[in-house]
């Protein structure tokens, strides 16, 4: 009971302690609660943060690997492309260089070939010089010719004058005009006179005899001269000598009119010629001997029977003459029965055989 008494004393104190402790606890409970909440909150936040961090790390990892994979996949293509572009650019540059050089060369050689033009112009000037010199020579030659002609003409004239005036030559007694005694030497004309032959009278022109004139009169083969005198009758003409043919015959032969054959005489466009042409065409189109492709051919086969010609058919069918043999042989008319032996040398066998070949019937 003591314990109980003690407990009862303590109970009061306990109640008070209990109340005090529980009031203290109750008062601390809120702060503790708040603190606990705070701590929990902070801890949960940390946890979540860690989790999010983890998540983002994972996401980054995945993306990193994925992107790496993709890039690695396309890297090759990109490198190839870049390489290709670089190559292309290089080639373009080189092509430009080649084209530049080629175009320069081509234009300079074929289109604006300056050196060829220069050479051409030089060649033209050379040729011109040559042509000019040739033409100059030609002109000079012509001039010389003309001068020569003039000189010759003058000389001829002088000579003719000298020949005409030959009588002015000085004689032994009387000096001529050109040989005056006061002169030291005779005039050149005098020398020319001495050299020249005197001119004879012009030969009487063998003028056409009046007979010829009269002959030509009706046909007027010469220009008409006004006849003032009466013409004489013409003398009979001499016949040409020799055994010539009768002129009438000759003329008849020479002037025999042409008589061409009918075919030659006929023109190409005349009706018979055209008709001949037309028949030719007809024949070509439908020749008689062609087997025509007719309908009812079996009918026609029977219809086309062979009919022998009358000439060859003898009493009992075809005659052999004309097909089998061509010559008539009449053994009854032969001279001798025996076969003829020719008197041919034995050591000429070829001849004999030839003879045999020729007449086998005779030699057997």
């Amino acid at each position: 009971m003591a314990a109980l008494a003690r407990l009862q004393e303590k109970l009061q104190r306990l109640q008070e302690e209990y109340f005090l402790t529980y009031r203290a606890i109750d008062e601390e409970r809120k702060t503790k609660y708040k603190a606990a909440v705070r701590i929990q909150r902070w801890f949960r936040a940390c946890r979540v943060r860690a989790y999010l961090r983890h998540l983002s790390k994972m996401a980054i990892l995945i993306q990193k690997w994925w992107r790496g994979y993709l890039r690695r996949k396309y890297f090759r293509e990109i490198v190839e492309r870049a390489y290709f572009i670089k190559k292309l650019e290089f080639y373009n540059e080189m092509a430009v260089r080649i084209q530049k050089m080629w175009r320069g060369y081509y234009v300079r050689k074929y289109i604006h070939n300056f050196s060829a033009l220069k050479r051409y112009l030089e060649a033209v000037s050379l040729n011109n010089e040559f042509v000019r010199s040739e033409l100059q020579e030609y002109a000079e030659m012509k001039e010389n010719e003309e001068k020569m002609k003039d000189l010759e003409k003058k000389e001829e004239e002088e000579k003719y004058q000298a020949r005409k005036m030959h009588y002015l030559l000085s004689t032994a007694q009387i000096p001529g005009i050109y040989n005056s005694p006061l002169r030291k030497s005779p005039d050149p004309m005098e020398l020319l006179l001495r050299k020249s032959k005197p001119l004879t009278h012009r030969k009487q022109k063998m003028g056409s005899s009046l007979a010829d004139e009269l002959y030509c009169w009706p046909t007027c083969e010469k220009p008409p001269a006004f006849v003032t005198t009466l013409p004489l009758l013409p003398a009979p003409r001499q016949k040409p000598q020799g055994p010539f043919r009768d002129p009438g015959e000759v003329l008849r032969q020479r002037y025999k009119p042409l008589e061409p054959t009918l075919r030659v005489r006929e023109s190409m466009n005349s009706p018979p010629a055209k008709a001949r042409e037309a028949t030719g065409r007809e024949e070509w189109r439908s020749p008689i001997h062609d087997n025509k492709f007719l309908p009812f051919s079996s009918y026609h086969k029977n219809a086309e029977k062979y009919e022998p010609s009358i000439c060859n058919s003898g009493k009992y069918g075809r005659e052999a003459y004309g097909t089998k043999y061509f010559r008539e042989v009449n053994p009854k008319k032969w001279i001798a029965d025996k076969k003829v032996k020719l008197a041919v040398c034995a050591h000429q066998p070829q001849k004999q055989s030839y003879a045999k070949q020729l007449c086998p019937e005779l030699y057997g």
Partner: protein, 486 residues
């Protein structure tokens, strides 16, 4: 008596016209051939002398009687009949038409087949006179079958016959390409080409004229003529002593050169240009004209040919022509040819300008006595040359005298060259060109003003102001208004 009458009519000049013809007409049918012949001669001489007589002869209907029995007549009658026909036909196309209508052409063809060269000459002369007038008559002559016979006539040995036949062929082929082709088809070119070397001058004239009439129509005909190997033989004709041979030779070369650049090239290659230039240098007057035109045609085709003409020393005779000749058409041709030479590139224009041609052209252009055609051609030539000319010393003299439309081009050329060349700028100032430029008045906004501005921009402003007109007055004014600083 009839003979005496006819004889007097032969020498008669002022006879009473129609009555004479009526008197002579019955005598044409006389029995005696010499009477017929004398009557024909009389008619021929009467018709030859006078147009009205010829018309009277035609009206009296004599022509059919004259030629009705021509094939059977002797050669003297044929010659005289041909003489009558040509005396009538030469006056006018209508008379020639009358001659053709009475059936003379067939008879003349019969005459052409005759053996006597005199008859052939008369007949071909008549054909020539008929064909000369116009294309229809030429066609009638060709239709009568005269051309092959004429080509045969050309091959005959007599020179007079060759001359006349060549001149007739020339008259036939000059009208149209078809007629020329007919003449060519008869094989005329080969024979004509052979005759170029003949020494007779008149024959050469006709032959060259015939070839040029054939060649002028088309490229094919010209090529045919060239294929007959006339070059370089034709060049000897250019050195002949006869003026007209030279002229016809130059005409032939001109007709060939004007068609295509290839033909011109061929002519240059065979040295034709040199021969032509010598020919131009040695002749005077209208004889030069075809040569000048040939040079123009050759130079017009391409710049290489133009340079070939320059290299052959072609410019100096042309400029000599411009100065010496009096006739306007020759000067116009020379100006045109120079324009064709100089218009291609700056090089060509420089060669033309250094020959001192531009002032001459300008003088001609400005001269009041020049005809319109000459002025136009000179202006065109100047314009063409100036548009390519960059040789400034030659342009200087033009600055001072030129009229505005030429000045425009001159200033334009200066404005193209000066911005790039400093020495030229200096020269321009020292020779007084800048001063002249300032004195020119131009409408603002016109092309001339632009050129002047371009030139002014090449120089510092003080110089431009210095040379502007009235600058000395401005300076003096400034002196007057100046207040001296004491």
């Amino acid at each position: 008596m009839s003979l005496r009458l006819a004889y007097s009519a032969v020498s008669g000049r002022g006879c009473v016209k129609i009555s004479v013809v009526c008197l002579l007409r019955p005598l044409l049918l006389d029995v005696i051939p010499s009477v017929r012949q004398t009557v024909a001669l009389a008619l021929g001489r009467l018709a030859d002398h006078d147009v009205e007589m010829a018309e009277a002869v035609v009206k009296a209907g004599i022509l059919p009687q004259l030629i009705c029995l021509l094939p059977e007549e002797n050669r003297y009658y044929k010659k005289t009949a041909a003489f009558v026909l040509r005396a009538i036909a030469k006056h006018s196309p209508q008379l020639a038409q009358a001659v053709v209508q009475c059936g003379a052409l067939e008879m003349l063809v019969v005459c052409l087949e005759d053996f006597d060269p005199g008859v052939k000459e008369g007949a071909s002369w008549t054909f020539g006179y008929i064909a000369r007038h116009n294309a229809e008559l030429s066609q009638a002559v060709v239709d009568a079958g005269a051309v092959p016979l004429l080509v045969l006539c050309i091959q005959e040995p007599e020179i007079a016959l060759k001359r006349i036949a060549a001149s007739t062929l020339s008259d036939i082929s000059k009208h149209s390409p078809e007629l020329a082709q007919t003449v060519v088809d008869a094989g005329a070119i080969a024979h004509l080409a052979q005759m170029i070397t003949n020494p007779d001058a008149k024959l050469k004239r006709q032959v060259l004229s015939a070839l040029s009439q054939i060649a002028k129509h088309s490229v094919d005909l010209a090529e045919l003529v060239v294929e007959a190997e006339i070059f370089p033989v034709v060049l000897t004709c250019l050195k002949d002593s006869d003026e007209y041979v030279k002229k016809n030779g130059a005409t032939l070369i001109r007709e060939i050169a004007k068609h295509t650049p290839e033909l011109s090239q061929f002519i240059v290659n065979s040295g034709g240009v040199a021969a032509l230039i010598d020919c131009i240098g040695s002749c005077r007057g209208t004889v030069r004209l075809p040569g000048i035109m040939t040079l123009g045609y050759v130079a017009a085709h391409s710049e290489n040919l133009s340079m070939a003409v320059i290299v052959s020393k072609g410019i100096s005779p042309l400029s000599a022509c411009l100065i010496e000749e009096h006739e306007d058409h020759i000067k116009a041709a020379a100006a045109w040819a120079l324009g064709q030479i100089g218009r291609h590139t700056a090089e060509h224009a420089r060669h033309v300008a250094t020959a001192n041609v531009l002032p001459t052209l300008l003088d001609i252009f400005v001269d009041t006595r020049s005809s319109e055609d000459l002025k136009m051609k000179t202006k065109k030539a100047l314009k063409n040359i100036l548009q390519k000319c960059t040789y400034l010393p030659a342009l200087e003299p033009l600055l001072h005298d030129a009229p505005p439309n030429i000045m425009k081009h001159v200033i334009g050329q200066f404005s193209k060259v000066l911005p790039h060349d400093s020495k030229a700028r200096r020269l321009f100032v020292t020779t007084g060109g800048l001063k002249k430029v300032q004195e020119i008045k131009a409408e603002p906004g016109s092309l001339l003003q632009e050129y002047i501005n371009t030139i002014n921009n090449c120089y510092p402003e003080e110089i431009v102001r210095y040379y502007s007109p009235g600058y000395s007055e401005i300076l003096l004014e400034r002196v007057e208004n100046y207040q001296p600083v004491l």
